[in-house]
Symmetry: C2
Subunit: 332 residues, 2 copies
């Protein structure tokens, strides 16, 4: 078998995770010393301790960029994923769920060391989620895992900011970006989390200025990145610094910022928000697929909003319906 | 530490399972050669093959009697569970989910042989589910795992019909029943599945006549057990053969059959049935807890119906809300 040379809409790189979701109240989140809505990195011991306190869980494949690529596939696009799991049962689940939705996922699994990473997610009654991440095997991603020919096939290479934490993985992301330099290729980055931005502000700005064409951030992340007090100031500061910067704003929709101005896109109406896990990831699925296929920015944003709305209407960060059919019904 | 001597409302014995749920259409179920709504036992190879074909999954702790005992705990009762998992990640998940809801679960895990059992569940758009069960480590349950002092503490010992398949587990169930002979103890059995009844009709009838005080069955199971054509004939045939026989009838409610007659209980109204997995298991939770606490049969049935209605309104067979609070709001 020779390797495929078909173009791929999006190739994503990120921390490969299985999510463990439980319903908890605000008091529980506070008692665990966690900041509601944030992501905290935890070690193996703390992961066991927190899990021990948590209620009955639901296990689903997660990982920010992995969710995005799964969403691209569900929308009818083509995608591949680069991330590291171990040869354990959670790794089996992660690999199955990527391939079952049609995503290419061929990174060799680690056979020793930490188990597959997991993200312990406390979902509060308002649908907000608080993440505690044990990176586990995902920190084992290195430049050796970057298949240059795979990256060459990507219309868009998508990088997850969370992956900036493990040093070897950061090098792997840079390596991948170095392969995505074709005239018809774009490199995209999501800032992932405002604390993550705090940890890596300088190197994120350097990366954005040198390599990033499409940047995703929510309001907290973009204001933290530019150390400004308002979203308006952040939008002014980022305009033209990358080709496209998308600022996601929850129920207020999203702002798509280019050197030419700002395109505002409304959020889809959701009757009942169950779990916001994956909202930003799935917005990126819709946006990137539409962009890869040459649609205008408004259509990109609209597709992102539709995919995000489906995800927050149920528990878990992977689509429960075929998103291509959902989109077809909306665009009638 | 000395062992507790506190009474327990219900002690359950069953196949310890992690459920893997996916949304599939009727064509997929048929193409896999499965009968919609049934449970098929599969081996390790077939489990891998079927999983490979299935879409993105959700993993949740399952196991019929385990769901029942978790429901008893969520309703505010006390319970213990006897079943076998391995020392693997799915075993960790199963053990966590039992203890996190307050269930005593101290059966030693197997350290070799088959991995923790799993049940591959195809949920079709009508909310119906088709089960393919790889028993895995759960077949390793033996009489050595039966803690007589634990069974002595039970107001009700609850036996899962599915466990009649592995021979050693069947012996373990008989051993457990031999410990539950106090004047204030009842032994209960659920028939689990009509194919399971077909496989074990004679020995189930023998067990019912000699040891069972409370029998649970749906319409298919009770007619299969007695080899009659109608539910009416089955009710006539079973009346007085056990102290109480509960026939669950889905949206039509349930019939509680004793030598004195039949008590009809309505089903709770459910706006939208998402996934019927666990409906019978949770009905048993409510019924058994009310019975253990000395309530009348109508109240037993009503509590069963409320617990079942909560479970079928979301995916997965374990309660998403505190059932004790839900019941309090209904009985207000």
């Amino acid at each position: 078998m020779t390797a495929s040379t078909d173009r791929l809409d999006v190739v994503g790189i990120g921390n490969a995770m299985v999510d463990v979701l439980t319903h908890e109240n605000d008091e529980f989140v506070a008692a665990q010393g966690l900041v509601k809505g944030s992501m905290t990195l935890i070690d193996a011991d703390r992961a066991l301790e927190l899990y021990d306190q948590m209620g009955t869980g639901i296990e689903v494949s997660g990982g920010s960029a992995a969710n995005t690529i799964a969403g691209v596939a569900s929308l009818g696009g083509t995608g591949a994923y680069i991330g590291k799991v171990r040869d354990d049962q959670l790794g089996d689940i992660f690999a199955h769920d990527m391939r079952s939705i049609g995503v290419e996922f061929d990174v060799p699994r680690s056979t020793e060391g930490s188990p597959t990473g997991r993200c312990l997610i406390l979902v509060t009654p308002d649908g907000e989620r608080t993440l505690s991440t044990f990176l586990g095997a995902s920190t084992g991603l290195t430049t050796d895992d970057i298949d240059g020919s795979l990256v060459h096939r990507a219309r868009i290479l998508y990088l997850e900011g969370y992956l900036w934490d493990p040093p070897a993985a950061k090098a792997a992301m840079r390596e991948a970006a170095s392969h995505a330099v074709g005239d018809d290729q774009r490199v995209s980055l999501t800032l992932s989390d405002s604390f993550c931005v705090d940890r890596h502000r300088e190197s994120f700005l350097d990366l954005i200025d040198t390599s990033i064409d499409v940047l995703f951030a929510n309001e907290d992340e973009i204001t933290s990145l530019l150390e400004v007090d308002s979203v308006e100031a952040a939008i002014e500061g980022i305009a033209g610094r990358t080709e496209i910067c998308v600022v996601t704003q929850g129920a207020a929709g999203s702002s798509i910022v280019t050197a030419d101005g700002v395109v505002k896109v409304f959020a889809e109406v959701v009757d009942h928000v169950v779990d916001t896990t994956g909202a930003g990831d799935l917005y990126a699925s819709g946006f990137l697929l539409a962009l890869a296929r040459g649609h205008d920015l408004e259509t990109c944003g609209r597709l992102g909003s539709i995919a995000a709305a489906e995800i927050i209407s149920h528990i878990g960060p992977r689509p429960e319906v075929n998103l291509a059919e959902l989109v077809a019904s909306k665009f009638g």
